[in-house]
């Protein structure tokens, strides 16, 4: 019965099960809509597990990411979660950073050092970021209490000395995010995140989203929506350039996009019901699982690296859908006056 859903992929020249493509697209759509990431790090191992021809995996994935990010960004924009000015600045900075990172990799490749350095940098980034975000979540109440005490002391006239702020002009104002920040800070942050993307060979959504929160100071939901706006442009470029190279199976991309478009709607809507720190906590867990998957791959434990990333992605989808359901039920009950 499962074979009923086999479709012929005209570019890959083989049959493949459409349900698997729709399911992968759906789970990545939920994750992408909720966290503001492209999700290629889930798609590639998922396609690999199910025997999709890997020559077409990256191009097909980028094609569907483009379509999905249009859907998700449009919905986030309705919710007021997209700072387009910040998004455009992030694209410009990131592209320059990516080129520098890519040049560094070319140089390291000539020295024969690229492989291990990239792998260990990637693991350090994933584990470091995940642990930091977990620490951030676990200490939020303590920091909120300390902040409240500071404000009470300030009101009582015993103000602590003002912290030095990095206000090097020119200053840039991003009204959608509610931040005013030095041009040098925002450029430096996106150059750095772009450099990491180019250096590690990743799309960068999972790097940019926490950078928007912790280094730029965006509210979490706006970081998610703005990051998706950037992913839209990189996805569009990736879709086109891989199409020109003949590395996109369009039928597979459409099947994944069908799932992803539905999943993205669910993921984006779930943001409405989860507070910023809740999103950060779930994001931290997700990238720690990604780090574990990379570690298992490095240790050459066969299959488990892919199983971990798939289990993490599916588990996170279930959590997000449950959060959406609970939030929706609560909202409905409040409307009915219960």
């Amino acid at each position: 019965m499962f074979d009923l859903f086999n479709i012929y992929l005209p570019i890959a020249e083989r049959d493949f099960n459409a349900l698997i493509l729709v399911a992968i697209g759906f789970s990545v759509g939920v994750l992408g809509g909720f966290f503001g990431v492209g999700g290629a790090w889930v798609v590639t191992p998922a396609l690999n597990i199910f025997g999709f021809p890997m020559a077409y995996a990256i191009g097909t994935d980028l094609a569907h990411i483009f379509g999905k990010s249009i859907v998700a960004t449009a919905k986030h924009r309705k919710m007021g979660n997209v700072d387009m000015k910040l998004g455009i600045v992030s694209i410009v900075g990131s592209v320059i950073g990516v080129e520098i990172g890519a040049q560094n990799i070319m140089w390291l490749t000539k020295l024969g050092l690229a492989g291990p350095i990239v792998r260990y940098t990637y693991m350090a980034l994933l584990f470091g970021l995940g642990i930091y975000m977990l620490y951030d979540y676990m200490t939020k109440d303590k920091r909120a209490a300390a902040q409240a005490a500071k404000m009470a002391a300030a009101r009582a006239g015993a103000a602590p000395p003002a912290r030095k702020a990095w206000n090097l002009p020119p200053m840039m104002n991003f009204p959608a995010s509610g931040i005013t920040i030095s041009f040098w800070t925002v450029t430096g942050v996106f150059l750095f995140t772009g450099w990491l993307s180019g250096f590690l060979g990743v799309g960068g959504g999972f790097i940019r989203m926490p950078a928007l929160i912790y280094l730029i100071g965006c509210p979490t939901a706006i970081a998610v929506g703005t990051d998706l706006f950037s992913v839209l442009f990189s996805g569009a470029y990736g879709c086109f350039t891989y199409g020109v190279k003949g590395a996109v199976d369009i039928v597979a991309a459409i099947a994944m996009l069908i799932g992803a478009s539905i999943g993205a709607q669910i993921g984006v809507t779930a943001v409405k019901y989860v507070r910023g720190y809740g999103i950060r906590l779930l994001f931290a867990i997700m990238i720690l699982m990604a780090g574990l998957s990379v570690l298992l791959k490095q240790m050459q434990v066969p299959v488990f690296d892919k199983v971990v990333v798939m289990a993490g992605a599916l588990g996170m989808c279930v959590v997000i859908i449950i959060q959406l359901y609970r939030g929706f039920k609560k909202e409905k009950a409040e409307k009915l006056g219960h």
Partner: protein
């Protein structure tokens, strides 16, 4: 060029699965026996990859928007529509 370099990196970094990558830029696919829509895609793939890329990009955009519009209506009907939200951390 930037994205090409960026996306070459996974194969360098991961000593990837070992699958040989065919020269897809000059590759052609069979068109005999395909359905009309598959034949359309395969024909442009064989004839002009730039046009194929434009078709892929435009189609991804249109399909995504169409499915999103339908899902929006469905979600609205069950009371799950979205509007501007307050940002609470």
């Amino acid at each position: 060029m930037i994205l090409n370099l960026m996306l070459l990196l996974p194969s360098l970094a991961w000593a990837a699965a070992g699958e040989k990558v065919p020269d897809m830029a000059t590759r052609t696919v069979k068109v005999e026996g395909l359905s009309a829509i598959n034949r359309f895609f395969a024909s442009w793939y064989n004839t002009n990859k730039w046009v194929f890329a434009i078709i892929v990009t435009v189609l991804m955009c249109l399909v995504g928007v169409a499915i999103a519009a339908v899902t929006d209506v469905l979600l609205k009907n069950i009371g799950m529509e979205v509007s501007k939200i307050e940002h609470h951390e």
